[in-house]
């Protein structure tokens, strides 16, 4: 399930965004060279500068291509795990073709060991495919929220096309046609295509399974369904008109519905357009323009270090994958009864990587959520513990971080961590979530299977889940 074919795996194995394994070893960065956009989306506010938010389309410092190259070299020399450079906004990279391609051209020459990636709304894509094919670009991401203009006109108020601002149904028709054409042209040229979709309940949630089917039939290798972010304080159309985002369950259900059709990506962190570092962390502050100005960079030396590190990590990842595959053939939770009456249970895990439970509850910035059932253990999603907006002086609601963390774990019945403090233990129990520190340093899937088996033995899998009883 959800395993990429070998030839694609080879291309993306050191890309942190494509596997839950790789993202603990490889880092990515985005450079904000592309501020202009040629469409408006109802989930975007073009006033993009906010230092406190972490979400797509937000940056604090716009760079020229020359500055972007300098920053990339500085990061790659200081963070040798940095394997991928992306241009992702804050506008549309292909609506800024000169700035985007100048950046790519210089990097292809000066840092041939860095992979380049680009994401686009697709409107200008057909015009840019040939130029894209010239660079060290393995894959392109297209955001496709619909293949039906009737849905599209509820998402896109306007596009700028052939010197005119076009609104309504016509705008959606043109955008959809260009996206699909661009997708087909990339596939023809052998460039991998990932499709991102924003799940907007009541707008395109019912439609995204169809999107998944269409883009897969045309050759996209991955479909990443992301939840709508629509806080009113972000000032977007959806935020200000009360359009809600999906719940975790709705998102997981849709990802399930689509994964029958294609490989889904369940660990997307919806990074800022200028994020630097491992997924879920942002070291952008260490590489601001004034700081990189004074850095001495010997990129030739850095490349040697980077190549060694990459070889080591890939060897480690491959041996882990092989070990896991061998084990899965033997242990398919045979110890559990396969009685169909067993209900599935969601469990959250605090981990800093390596596939083991190795993080203190209080240190976890995010949790991985798994579902255990009679069929086995599977990864569902990650959940952020600290909210993407940390600007609590201006836009927080005064809720404690712990309270927000517990809210983020809604629907989970167990949280596995290496250790946990007294106070959060009590609060979690009150919220109907059982803390568990007994499986520290154990492999995640094994520990979850063990806890599930204990719950079964205790008769907890036949009754109502604990969190539904707590208010009684």
């Amino acid at each position: 399930m959800n395993v990429l074919p070998d030839h694609i795996m080879k291309k993306v194995q050191d890309h942190p965004c494509y596997s839950e394994d790789a993202h603990h070893y490889f880092a990515r960065m985005h450079v904000a060279v592309a501020p202009a956009c040629n469409i408006q989306c109802n989930y975007c506010n073009r006033k993009y500068d906010c230092a406190n938010e972490s979400r797509p389309g937000v940056v604090s410092e716009l760079l020229t291509p020359v500055q972007a190259v300098k920053k990339t070299l500085a990061v790659a020399a200081n963070i040798p795990q940095m394997s991928v450079l992306g241009v992702a906004g804050p506008g549309d990279p292909l609506a800024n073709p000169e700035r985007t391609f100048d950046t790519f051209r210089m990097l292809s020459e000066q840092a041939p060991d860095i992979k380049l990636c680009v994401s686009t709304n697709g409107l200008s894509l057909p015009d840019c495919v040939d130029e894209l094919a010239k660079h060290n670009i393995d894959h392109v991401t297209i955001t496709i929220n619909c293949v039906d203009p009737e849905v599209g006109e509820k998402i896109y108020p306007w596009i700028f096309w052939q010197n005119r601002r076009i609104k309504g149904r016509e705008a959606a028709e043109i955008l959809i046609e260009r996206q699909q054409k661009g997708l087909e042209m990339l596939i023809e040229r052998g460039i991998l295509v990932k499709v991102n979709s924003v799940m907007i309940p009541g707008v395109n949630d019912q439609h995204l399974a169809e999107v998944s089917r269409v883009v897969k039939s045309k050759g996209a290798f991955l479909h990443n369904v992301m939840p709508l972010i629509s806080e009113p304080e972000h000032g977007t159309f959806y935020g200000l008109t009360g359009q809600r985002g999906p719940t975790q369950d709705e998102l997981n259900d849709l990802q399930d519905a689509c994964s029958g059709d294609m490989n889904m990506m369940r660990h997307c962190r919806q990074c800022r357009a200028d994020a630097v570092g491992l997924l879920g962390e942002d070291r952008g502050d260490e590489f601001t323009l004034d700081k990189i100005e004074n850095m001495e960079i010997d990129y030739a030396a850095a490349m040697v270090v980077r190549a060694e590190l990459r070889a080591d990590v890939i060897a480690e990842l491959e041996s882990k994958r092989a070990a896991k595959a061998a084990k899965q053939n033997v242990v398919s939770l045979v110890s559990l009864s396969s009685a169909p009456a067993l209900r599935p249970v969601k469990m959250a895990v605090a981990t800093s990587g390596g596939g083991v439970i190795n993080q203190h509850f209080g240190h976890a910035k995010e949790f991985l959520v798994y579902e255990a059932s009679a069929q086995g253990v599977r990864f569902l999603s990650h959940r952020k513990a600290d909210q993407y907006c940390a600007g609590d002086t201006s836009c927080g609601d005064g809720e404690s971080v712990l309270g927000m963390t517990i809210k983020a774990l809604e629907g989970c019945e167990v949280v596995l961590c290496s250790k946990i403090g007294f106070e959060p233990w009590g609060m979690l129990e009150t919220a109907g979530i059982q803390p568990n520190g007994e499986h520290a340093m154990e492999p995640i899937e094994d520990a979850i299977a063990a806890v599930y088996a204990e719950m079964q033995a205790a008769g907890k899998l036949l009754v109502q889940p604990a969190h539904q009883l707590k208010s009684a």
């Binding site: 408006q40 073009r46 500068d49 108020p157 700028f160 010197n163 005119r164 200000l240 002086t393």
Partner: protein, 98 residues
Amino acid sequence: MALIINELCVNCFACEPLCPNKAIYEAKPHFLINPDLCTECLGDHDAPQCAEICPIECAIEDEYGEVLNPPGSLTGIPLQALQALHEQSVLDKAAARS
């Protein structure tokens, strides 16, 4: 006649390459239009290109101070909601100063 870019501009560069007269230039704190060069695109396009692509409502004005993209015209956000957001941001700024 010439158009004006006001302080609402977010410096997104979208308009700059579209200007048929190269009248738009990068400046601090925001892009500006050279009034000697601006023709409001007469003779080149049906509509002024900067105002056609600008994503920010009210950021481009004509010589009479009329905005080319009035509030709500681009985002579709109801005026009441825009007003509430504006008041909140004024309050936040005041709170940050105190």
